[in-house]
């Protein structure tokens, strides 16, 4: 668990963090959402002590990080940044082995771990192991960056705008990879982004930052509820808050018992926003679930979910 307790920080005259308090439960992927200058990256960097808070505490697994040796602390936390930051003079395998080497793992263990991680992030070990970072595409480089962060199997992953520099298609591919890795490993992940779509695609919980303060925190649907804070409303097109809320809710959660023969079928993993758009597109008020003929979804259930 990561917990922020009354964290303050200032850069010169700028109040970067002001009394930030919230907790990220173990195993949760929490997205810190905010515009540039909102203090979201600064908040992330207090966890691995790249930034030392002026006041307040940051707890990791119940222990104040201020009491830990910074290097040992950081070796136990995966860290992924927008510019990737691969070492250009080392191979892909050498980059992934950075922390295992610092921890003194033996060669066989490091090599086995490197290959397993390349598989995990969707890169063929035989093809990529010995490549230099300069020969990788942006998406491949960030996959290696993710593998490097996971190398020593840290329980916590910090990700600072990891996919912001990638084109939309590549970004979606990496988001899918991250969702898969999160589901498979149960890591606690704190991910910073300015992109609401990305937050909705990944988040179990969302923390909204604005001008150094925590504007809202909770599940995506709750944060996007009718009482959504102004900074969050600024990130979306006016009048689309309800649609974004629906986009944060899985369609399966609003399903009702009973088949709906002949109704258009929703693909697995669809959200209520997808369901509503499918109804509008087909002129239907009932949908079936592909691969689950015993359940259906009605328009009324969507209306109930949209206005909690």
């Amino acid at each position: 668990m990561i917990a922020f307790e009354g964290v303050f920080h200032r850069f010169g005259a700028v109040q970067a963090l002001e009394d930030v308090t919230f907790a990220v439960p173990t195993g949760t992927l929490c997205v810190v959402l905010g515009e540039s200058g909102s203090g979201k990256s600064t908040l992330l960097r207090t966890v691995n002590r790249l930034v030392e808070p002026a006041a307040g505490r940051v707890l990791l697994g119940g222990k104040d990080v201020a009491g830990a040796d910074p290097q040992a602390l950081r070796r136990g936390i995966g860290y992924v940044i927008q510019s990737v930051g691969l070492f250009p003079h080392r191979s892909v395998a050498g980059n992934i082995a950075t922390v295992p080497r610092l921890l003194g793992w033996d060669r066989a263990r490091t090599e086995a771990r490197t290959d397993a991680l390349l598989e995990m992030v969707g890169l063929d070990p035989a093809t990529f192991r010995d490549r230099r970072p300069a020969t990788l595409s942006g998406g491949q480089a960030q996959r290696v960056g993710l593998a490097r962060a996971l190398a020593a199997d840290p329980p916590v992953l910090l990700m600072d705008e990891p996919f912001s520099a990638l084109d939309p298609g590549t970004r979606r591919g990496l988001q899918a990879a991250l969702r898969r890795i999160h589901a498979g490993t149960g890591k606690t992940i704190l991910l910073v982004t300015h992109d609401l779509e990305e937050a909705l695609a990944l988040a179990g919980r969302i923390a909204v930052m604005a001008q150094g303060r925590l504007a809202a925190e909770g599940t995506p649907a709750a944060v996007l509820g009718p009482g959504a804070p102004e900074p969050l409303r600024r990130m979306i097109r006016p009048g689309t808050l309800a649609l974004h809320r629906l986009a944060a809710l899985p369609a399966a959660g609003a399903a009702a018992e009973g088949p709906a023969p002949g109704a258009p079928a929703l693909p697995p993993g669809a959200t209520l926003a997808d369901a509503l758009l499918l109804m509008l597109d087909r002129g239907a008020d009932r949908l079936s679930f592909a691969g689950n003929p015993g359940r259906h979804l009605g328009m009324a259930a969507i209306l109930r979910a949209a206005a909690p």
């Binding site: 290097q71 950081r74 070796r75 136990g76 940044i81 510019s83 070492f87 003079h89 950075t98 910090l158």
Partner: protein
């Protein structure tokens, strides 16, 4: 062009630079003479004809074949090492022609007679050295390596006795002990100055890395020194060093004084601080701030980030600065003789005082060799550095 080769493509980029130099090297000995002979040391030498013995003709033919090869190599569309090889071969053939020619041309038994390369041979040597440098530069390499090879080759010819009849070699044989001492002194002066400059520049550059005001002051002061002419700086150092030595006799016992190597070493080092400091700083910055931050985030300590990231990535740039500073140190050490610091400069200035061109050359050639060796050595080192490729 040999028969059977494909039709020549467009002339290579080296041709406009190399062709005139190769032609000049070929024509100069023809017009200005190969060798000059004087009956004794006091009379000026006069051009003499090359004796047409077998070995002389062989060396002469090799010289012209190498020039032809240089022209043909320069014609190739892509720069490669062939022009440099041909130019070095031409230099060696030139030296052999002159050496063998003087041996055959000196009247037997006339011990006082002196023989030297004539103006034509010197012009050819200069043109070929320029051609080597131009060919290296066009290929993107350092001219120091082929020029050093040429110098070592001439040394080998000398060691084989081919150049024994030249007055320069006779002069060198007569002063062998003096020359060795001057060479050792020159090396000591340059090395001491380089070491002193490194001791000052390395910590200051490291401290300046994250302190912009210190960096501005450090580089500003180091640049300021460059404005002072070197002899003036050596002179300026004499008075304070002399005062120090008289105030603290222990210093004088340790070899520090107003006259001698101390002002030269300190003065040379002062000039080297700028190239070294600037090179080390830019080398340390080859690893971007983002990259160093990523390394910190992985849990690398500042020392590990330095050794695993900043130094390997910046090694090429830093070795480049070291190369510049080493060559500069060897050149500036020549002036140490003016403040009583010794070194090969003493030989050069003695030669100038006596109007003895052989003596001047005996001072200048080893300086040239040292400087080329330092340049080539550090260039080769930079090639194996991880950040160099």
């Amino acid at each position: 062009m040999r028969a059977g080769e494909p039709a020549p493509g467009p002339p290579g980029p080296a041709l406009p630079a190399l062709a005139p130099l190769a032609l000049a090297a070929g024509l100069a000995p023809l017009l200005l003479g190969w060798i000059a002979v004087a009956p004794n040391r006091l009379l000026s030498p006069r051009p003499a004809a090359l004796a047409e013995t077998g070995p002389v003709l062989l060396a002469w033919a090799l010289f012209h074949a190498a020039l032809l090869a240089l022209l043909l190599a320069a014609w190739r569309p892509r720069p490669n090492w062939l022009p440099e090889g041909a130019a070095v071969l031409a230099i060696l053939a030139l030296a052999a022609t002159v050496g063998l020619g003087t041996a055959a041309g000196l009247p037997p038994g006339a011990a006082a007679a002196r023989a030297a390369p004539a103006a034509g041979a010197w012009v050819a040597l200069l043109a070929l050295a320029l051609a080597t440098a131009a060919a290296s530069a066009l290929r993107g390499g350092t001219p120091a390596i082929p020029l050093l090879a040429a110098l070592l080759g001439i040394g080998a010819l000398g060691a084989a006795g081919l150049l024994d009849s030249l007055s320069l070699v006779r002069e060198a044989q007569g002063r062998a002990a003096d020359l060795r001492a001057a060479l050792a002194g020159h090396l000591a002066l340059s090395a001491a100055a380089l070491l002193l400059a490194l001791l000052a520049a390395l910590p200051l550059a490291a401290l300046s890395l994250s302190r912009p005001r210190l960096e501005a002051a450090f580089l500003g002061a180091a640049s300021g020194i460059q404005v002072i002419p070197s002899i003036a700086l050596f002179g300026l150092l004499i008075a304070p060093l002399a005062a120090l030595a008289s105030a603290f006799p222990g210093l004088r016992a340790a070899g520090l004084g107003g006259i001698g190597p101390a002002p030269a070493v300190i003065g040379i080092a002062a000039y080297l601080v700028l190239p070294l400091g600037r090179g080390v700083l830019s080398g340390l910055r080859v690893a971007s701030a983002d990259l160093v931050e990523a390394a910190r985030g992985q849990g690398l300590s500042p020392g590990q980030a330095l050794w695993q990231l900043r130094l390997p990535l910046g090694a090429g740039v830093m070795l480049g600065a070291l190369r510049l500073a080493a060559v500069q140190a060897i050149g500036l050490a020549t002036l140490a003789a003016l403040v009583g610091g010794g070194g090969l400069g003493a030989v050069v200035f003695q030669g100038i005082g006596q109007l003895a061109s052989d003596l001047i050359l005996l001072g200048v050639l080893p300086i040239l060799a040292l400087s080329l060796a330092a340049d080539a050595g550090i260039a080769l080192l930079a090639r194996v550095a991880p950040g160099g490729s």
